[in-house]
């Protein structure tokens, strides 16, 4: 099960005709630069605005963000389906606004699949290959390979409406990867699939990326998927880019309160920074590293960095503490999850080994504690 | 026509527009073929002969017809404008009945607007007077006429209303229409002679006023049609020449040829109409019985009135307007 690599064996292509774009992008992934990109639909509010993003050739970047935050719109602008209202899109330092979509050589999986209802599964998948005038045998071979890969054997002669939702999504994916485009734009390509199939296709996508070094722009609402696959993650929020960074970087230093809360879980304390430390209610906590520029920021601790002890127990030395009440404790195989409500009524949670001591129970007054170096500050 | 009057040698072709159908076939047989034999001139036949088309072709400077069998009203109203003046030496106006010629037309044949009834529908009393056409009590049933005011209906209404046939013109259109109002709901206005024929054969209409040749054709196709020789209007058919055709002279030759007794008689025998020239003896024509029964120019055909060419030429436009208004009102 391997995604076939088009463009590596160019000899099978017919002699260059006008079909080949004049400014053909290089075989490896392209560099994409979004420059102040914005989109307004009709006269409504901006659906996307001021997006600046530099995507290196061969990078795997994921657009992450809540529903309606502008991911699809951004992707559509890159693909050339939607005109930006503002800003530019550069491919390898060339403005590609005048380049129609079929000249861009980008593969795309649409969130709504956009399968051709009058074509069979095999014909849908063969579509981009026929447009590129590959010869018959080659087309059959490649289509066979991706059909295998996406586990669609036996469905080749069905029409899209005779497929299940997940099968349709796989056809959309197959059709986008079959021609090894220089840039792959994937809009939630795996959202309708069960975990096993999803993981296997994630592996394939990763492999495809690693082998060909194509540029991937991937949209997902699955954080784990984003974390596992991406070189970098761009977090959208209400049409704007809130943060861009590596998965680890963003997790450990989310920068904004929004990212902290959207990406994984956090314990967030809304206090004020002073010269003596961070003040939260009656407490003052040391600022730890990154003490500069903490004015007006919130303090964040990730759940697995937090410990929890009964309120009367001794606090580990050097740890900061926050009083809370346990609202729930639940066990998940090897770990347990303690839900808290801090004294300022804000919710929090701690994740710790299932066997961790001292054990706490719901309703108990506790202290959450952490090492100052495990805390980060975020803008509100 | 820049090359008007040019006399080229060699066989020429004349385009002849007419009614189409059997009638035009008769023209080919009786008028065109002998002319071809005599002069070598060939003919192209088209139909129908639409005066609007004549106007359009003359105005655009490209008349494509040379001869047209169409109502003389247009040749009268637009003489020398859309139609050529006829000045052929053989077209001596005195050869024709008085009042049947104009500068741009002479008659090629004569016919009548014949009042007839469907004899199958009246077993007892039979209509024998033009007044009967307007008496729907004694003679119930639809009266069908061609949808055009110069179909003899107005004149008949006036005569039925008591006007002497000799005092018909100028027509008192309003009086005629008032008379027609009395039978309006029984009048059918047919858009074509074909429809007239179809409805008579199907016994949908009981009475009709229609032109000689159509009456004959209708009777021949199975309608038990009987003419009423009390009062009928008569009229002429004419061949006219669209203005500006380069073959105008040859076309005039053809007209002159057509009215010659031999051709005229052959034509009359085929169509059931009468020759136009007064010097042709109608008795010598070999009409069939049906043709005779609808021919108004044989003796004992009651009162006849030739439709007044001058009056109709001057008034058709106004009458048409009033006719339309009256008809749909």
């Amino acid at each position: 099960m391997r995604i076939p690599v088009l463009g590596t064996d160019r000899q099978t292509r017919r002699p260059a005709s006008e079909a080949a774009p004049p400014a053909a992008p290089p075989a490896a992934g392209g560099r994409i630069r979004l420059d102040g990109l914005g989109k307004r639909f009709g006269s409504g509010a901006m659906a996307v605005s001021g997006v600046d993003l530099d995507i290196a050739p061969g990078e795997f970047i994921t657009l992450l963000g809540p529903s309606g935050s502008g991911k699809t719109t951004t992707l559509n602008m890159i693909a050339g389906f939607t005109d930006p209202s503002e800003g530019r899109i550069l491919l390898n330092d060339q403005d590609i606004s005048p380049l129609p979509p079929h000249r861009r050589n980008f593969g795309m999986v649409f969130q709504s699949y956009a399968l051709f209802p009058h074509l069979t599964v095999a014909q849908n998948i063969a579509f981009p290959l026929r447009e590129r005038r590959l010869d018959r045998a080659e087309i059959t071979r490649r289509v066979g390979e991706v059909v295998e890969l996406t586990d669609l054997r036996g469905k080749e002669n069905r029409r899209p409406h005779e497929l299940s939702g997940g099968q349709q999504q796989r056809v959309a994916l197959a059709r986008a990867v079959v021609f090894s485009p220089s840039v792959l734009l994937l809009d939630e390509p795996l959202s309708a699939l069960d975990r096993k199939l999803r993981q296997s296709l994630q592996r394939e996508i990763k492999r495809l990326h690693d082998e060909l070094r194509l540029t991937f722009v991937f949209v997902t609402h699955d954080q784990d998927e984003a974390m596992t696959l991406s070189d970098r993650i761009a977090v959208f929020r209400e049409g704007r880019l809130d943060a861009v960074g590596t998965p680890d970087g963003l997790y450990h230093d989310p920068g904004t309160r929004f990212v902290a809360q959207f990406l994984g879980e956090s314990n967030l304390f809304e206090g004020t920074a002073g010269p003596d430390g961070y003040r939260w209610r009656d407490r003052v906590w040391p600022l730890g590293r990154g003490a500069a520029g903490t004015e007006g920021r919130h303090l964040v601790v990730r759940p697995e960095k937090l410990g929890v002890i009964p309120a009367a127990d001794p606090v580990p030395s050097g740890h900061s503490t926050a009083p809370a009440t346990v609202t729930d404790v639940s066990f998940y195989g090897t770990y347990q999850r303690v839900e808290l409500r801090y004294d300022d009524e804000s919710p929090g949670c701690v994740v710790r080994p299932a066997q961790a001591t001292p054990s706490v129970t719901a309703g108990e007054a506790v202290l959450a504690h952490w090492r100052p170096e495990d805390q980060v500050f975020v803008t509100p | 026509g820049s090359d008007k009057g040019q006399n080229s040698s060699g066989p020429q072709t004349l385009t002849w527009a007419s009614t189409g159908g059997q009638f035009q076939d008769n023209e080919i047989e009786a008028l065109q073929k002998p002319f071809t034999e005599k002069t070598g001139t060939k003919f192209k036949n088209v139909s129908p002969a639409d005066p609007a088309q004549v106007r359009a072709m003359v105005e655009s400077g490209r008349p494509v017809w040379d001869l047209a069998n169409m109502s003389w009203i247009y040749a009268g109203a637009y003489c020398d404008k859309f139609y050529e003046k006829l000045d052929h030496r053989d077209l001596d106006r005195s050869l024709f009945p008085e009042g049947t010629t104009g500068d741009c037309f002479v008659p090629t044949y004569r016919f009548a607007n014949v009042f007839a009834y469907n004899a199958d529908l009246y077993k007892g009393e039979q209509p024998d007077n033009i007044k009967d056409f307007f008496d729907t009590k004694r003679f119930p049933g639809k009266r069908i006429v061609f949808d055009y005011p110069k179909n003899g209906l107005l004149e008949s209404a006036l005569v039925a209303d008591g006007v002497d046939p000799k005092d018909l013109y100028p027509l008192d259109v309003e009086r005629a229409l008032r008379k027609l109002d009395t039978i309006k709901d029984q009048l059918v206005f047919a858009p074509s002679y074909g429809a007239v024929q179809q409805m008579l054969v199907d016994k949908q209409a009981a009475m009709v006023i229609t032109v000689t040749a159509r009456a004959i054709a209708t009777a021949e196709s199975g309608a038990n049609l009987k003419a009423v020789w009390d009062f009928n209007t008569t009229d002429i058919g004419a061949l006219v020449i669209p203005k500006g055709t380069p073959r105008a002279d040859l076309a005039q030759d053809a007209i002159a040829f057509a009215i010659e007794p031999e051709q005229a008689k052959a034509y009359a025998a085929l169509t059931g109409t009468a020759p136009a020239r007064t010097d042709v003896d109608i008795e010598s024509i070999d009409y069939s019985d049906v043709q005779k029964s609808f021919n108004a120019f044989l003796p004992d055909r009651g009162r006849l009135a030739e439709q007044d060419k001058k009056w109709w030429i001057e008034n058709t436009d106004k009458v048409l307007e009033r006719w339309t208004e009256w008809k749909i009102g």
């Binding site: 079909a19 420059d35 102040g36 307004r40 693909a79 050339g80 389906f81 939607t82 005109d83 930006p84 209202s85 503002e86 800003g87 530019r88 606004s97 005048p98 129609p100 979509p101 861009r104 593969g107 795309m108 649409f110 956009a114 399968l115 009058h118 579509f127 026929r130 447009e131 590129r132 002669n157 069905r158 899209p160 409406h161 005779e162 986008a176 021609f179 485009p181 | 159908g21 059997q22 088209v46 639409d50 609007a52 359009a56 072709m57 949808d147 055009y148 059918v188 074509s192 002679y193 074909g194 024929q197 179809q198 409805m199 054969v201 949908q204 196709s221 307007e321 008809k327 749909i328 009102g329």
Partner: protein
């Protein structure tokens, strides 16, 4: 161009010169251009000369227009014409809608049959059809006898508005069924499921979901029929009474009998303006309630299949009745052609094949059939190409310019034929195109163009625009997108447009009469000539031959297509 107002942000974020929307606009212009040029040359320029005449003849000034208001009948007739056209359009819609709906539910073979039945009136030539109705409607005719036996009284329908409306509806029904069907076929039937799951009964689901979604087809079909009904004159003249006179008859008298080109022109332009106003108004009213364009949001439309409902017994009965109405005149014409009588007879008293002999042995008839098929094929092809392109162009335009162009494209249908014929005749005389088959083809192309535009446009409106986008994203050049995605999807619309264009040419008589020459005349011209002065039942023979000649291949093609389709999906 409302977005070009502000360019906020840093100065170097220049507005893109030519993006997707810019390309769209250019494409729209390019696609519309050929049709517009054709229309400009063949219709607009000549119409300008008509307009000029209407204010210069017989005297300069607005006399002709003032006359329309003062002559006491033009307004009345126009009002009546609009009313009759409206009645025919609405009645037609009521008859056609369930039929088209049944077509979407039928299996491939059933559908082939239903399509063939819809098309049958088309191949039965206009004159033969009208005489068939005459025979059916007249006193003692089949319809009267039938209504007498079932106790509905014995009022003859001949000469009544009802009779005229009935026969006009029958003739125009296919113009409704085809666009309706092609746009209904696109409706995702799962939406009906959704409606039902949300508590709407089958009927309510239909009314609140299916009906609004079928609006593009409804609009296309009714506007076509409305406009066509406006121009009718043979049917009301033959079957109606003077009280049924329609505006085209009045204009005809003006132009043909009175040679008053200025006055007729004024009337024609007046009709055009009033009709466009009425339609614009209707569109505006309709827009408040329905969407003109409904981009799909669901995944691929699931065509009705087994389990998709199937048609109930009532719908089936209704479909059969409508099918009967559609074929009634043909069922009369064919026996009529076998009558021995010299007028139209139904049922024939004596049988004979003399009219077929006549047909076979008269070069005029055989030649005219050949000419007609040739002209119809070429002009349908040309109109389909130009019209499909224009419809695609229209779709890329904004709603306002779309409305204007739509009106322009419809105009040749609204302006009475006699005026179009006169101006085209005059223009072609100068160009030396009259009396050539090419000239007739050219004129028919212009006349048929609007049908294609309307039929294709209705279909395009229901199409998911994302599919074309996806195709272009997968590397398809615009031509390829058209050929491999847009065209296959729009095919039912294109085909019905082509059929409408074909039949328009096949049945068109006024322009063809003017442009004819010896040897260069179409079947309708030959037919027209053979019934103006006297009945010639050869036209029923010719018409029957035409029905067979065209229907059988079409039915066969469909059946083969159906079988292939089945084998393909297996």
């Amino acid at each position: 161009m409302t977005t070009a107002t502000v360019t906020r942000g840093s100065p170097d974020t220049a507005r893109p010169v030519r993006g997707a929307e810019g390309r769209n606009r250019t494409a729209a212009a390019l696609l519309l251009l050929p049709a517009l040029i054709a229309l400009l040359l063949l219709f607009v320029l000549p119409m300008i000369s008509v307009a000029v005449r209407s204010v210069t003849e017989p005297q300069a000034g607005l006399g002709n227009y003032i006359g329309l208001f003062t002559d006491g009948y033009t307004l009345r007739v126009l009002g009546r014409t609009l009313l009759v056209a409206l009645i025919v359009a609405v009645a037609g819609l009521l008859v056609a809608y369930p039929y088209a709906y049944a077509m979407t539910l039928a299996g491939p073979v059933g559908r082939a049959l239903l399509v063939t039945v819809v098309l049958v009136p088309f191949w039965t030539s206009m004159l033969a059809r009208n005489y068939a109705w005459l025979v059916l409607l007249q006193d003692g005719g089949l319809i009267q006898r039938f209504s007498r036996t079932v106790g509905l009284g014995d009022e003859p329908l001949f000469g009544t508005t009802a009779g005229v409306a009935l026969s006009m509806t029958q003739v125009l029904l296919p113009f409704l069924v085809l666009p309706l069907y092609s746009s209904m076929q696109q409706i995702d039937r799962r939406l009906l499921d959704a409606g039902q799951s949300l508590g709407a009964s089958r009927l309510r689901s239909f009314r609140k979901i299916y009906l609004p979604l079928s609006m593009p087809g409804v609009m296309a079909g009714t506007s076509l029929v409305f406009v066509l009904a406006l121009g009718f004159y043979v049917t009301p003249a033959l079957l109606g009474s003077p009280q049924n006179a329609m505006i085209a008859q009045i204009i005809n008298v003006r132009a043909r009998d009175r040679l008053d080109f200025g006055g007729a022109g004024a009337m024609g332009i007046f009709v055009l303006v009033v009709t466009l106003l009425v339609m614009g108004l209707a569109q505006r009213i309709a827009k408040g309630r329905t969407l003109s364009s409904v981009p799909g949001v669901a995944a691929p439309a699931r065509p009705a299949g087994p389990g998709g409902g199937g048609s109930g017994p009532w719908l089936r009965l209704y479909t059969v009745l409508v099918g009967f109405l559609l074929t009634a005149p043909t069922l009369v014409v064919i026996p009529m052609s076998l009558s021995a009588g010299t007028t139209f007879r139904f049922p024939p008293e004596e049988w004979s094949t003399r009219w077929y002999d006549n047909l076979a042995h008269s070069p005029a008839w055989t030649e005219s059939i050949g000419n007609s098929l040739q002209v119809a094929l070429v002009s349908a092809l040309a109109a389909t190409v130009l019209g499909t392109a224009a419809a695609m162009g229209l779709q890329r335009l904004g709603p306002r310019s779309r409305g204007v162009l739509f009106g322009l494209l419809l105009s040749p249908l609204i302006v009475p034929n006699i005026l179009v014929a006169l101006v085209i005749f005059a223009a072609f005389l100068r160009l030396g195109l009259n009396g050539t088959l090419g000239g007739i083809m050219l004129a028919h192309t212009a006349l048929a163009l609007p049908y294609v535009v309307i039929a294709v446009f209705a279909r395009l409106q229901g199409m998911d625009p994302r599919l074309a986008t996806a195709a272009s994203g997968l590397g398809a050049r615009p031509w390829s997108v058209f050929r491999r995605v847009t065209l296959p999807q729009a095919l039912p619309g294109v085909l019905s447009g082509a059929v409408l264009a074909f039949v328009t040419s096949l049945d068109e008589v006024v322009v063809a009469l003017f442009l004819q020459a010896p040897g260069v005349f179409t079947l309708p011209v030959q037919m027209f000539n053979s019934v103006t002065i006297q009945i010639d039942p050869t036209i029923s023979a010719a018409s029957s031959v035409m029905v067979i000649l065209v229907s059988v291949p079409i039915l066969l093609a469909q059946l083969v297509g159906a079988r292939r389709g089945k084998a393909g999906t297996r």
